[in-house]
Subunit: 201 residues, 2 copies
């Protein structure tokens, strides 16, 4: 009398969201602002969605915030298989890309075909970083860890011996491209932090 | 020459998103699916946004998914001050409501006025649970912990000695109202869990 398993497409959708639970166990290079522990990619994803919504007005070009939020919601799912690669740690970009593509195949492939293709397209738009929405989304994804590091006393900057020039080239360029006002708000705080480090050492 | 602090409204927006970091330290009654630790309200918020997007087709009435996501993005922010109140634990509803209203005043009050009012209205729509979008959002917020408990071997059901009838009255009614197909997919698994418990004891 009772159905023991839900029927498709509900069943595959539930398997996908259950698998996604594992993003809560993927740890990032950065910590919470209070430095109490490393941040995971699920809570990071929530946080940058809130950042994007709150700072939407500061996008360089007018972004469709609803679409930006979809990108940020899905952008880190591939890390369930591929892990997080802290931007200041050395890694083989081609290797990471290959792992992330395989992860996208497997994870989005759990969904019904039309939805698989939708989610995959949103993820690829973010990765490609060409559209106005993706450029803004990327700028937010890069800016939030700056605050983690400033608030926690250096965080991954200290861990990976990052220089002020590397912040510009690895992070600043992308934040400025999507949200220049945000970069100009953060840059003086970053300057101060590095100045204090130089003075102290 | 340098601005040491960003200008308004950027400054207040950054203070708000920095304060929001604390939602990552608010622990819920439920655990990760693998039972390794309690879930926090920030990662829970991310997860139910993914649930909602993935299951949007199963909303009882046609929901505007973008608006549902905004509600779920903001719905737990008040817990930074008010804490999470596990649904199966006794609590004074009037007391919780008062704490959450004060939290909404303080937290959304950190934002520029127009944005404060926007965010507050989205949160109130969720709390009131009258609109089609809010009813679907609530159903998802109630359904995800069911999977946490099923996967982790009982979780907060076991901790609070919850009965099958209480699942119906506290959770089932709301899941069914917003996403009946989701409820009918989950109910047999819940029945099985309680049946196994009864047989075992
Ligand atoms: Ca809650």
């Amino acid at each position: 009398k009772r159905r023991l398993m839900p029927l498709e497409p509900m069943a595959s959708r539930l398997r996908f969201v259950m698998e996604a639970d594992r993003l809560k166990t993927v740890l990032r290079g950065t910590t919470l602002n209070d430095a109490s522990r490393h941040e995971n990619s699920a809570e990071h994803s929530w946080h940058i969605m809130l950042w994007a919504l709150t700072l939407a007005e500061h996008s360089h070009e007018a972004a469709k915030i609803d679409h930006v939020l979809l990108m940020l919601l899905l952008h880190d799912i591939v890390e369930i298989d591929a892990g997080d690669n802290p931007i200041h740690r050395d890694f083989d970009a081609a290797d990471v890309e290959e792992q992330e593509l395989a992860a996208a195949d497997r994870l989005f492939g759990m969904l019904p075909p039309a939805q698989r293709d939708d989610f995959r397209a949103i993820w690829e738009e973010f990765e490609t970083a060409k559209s106005v929405d993706a450029v803004f989304a990327k700028s937010i994804d890069r800016a939030q860890p700056l605050i983690c590091n400033l608030e926690s006393g250096g965080g991954s900057w200290r861990e990976y011996n990052v220089t002020r020039a590397q912040i510009d080239s690895r992070v600043g360029v992308k934040v400025k491209r999507g949200a220049p006002a945000l970069w100009f708000a953060l840059a003086p705080r970053i300057d101060d932090w590095f100045l204090a480090e130089t003075t102290a050492s």
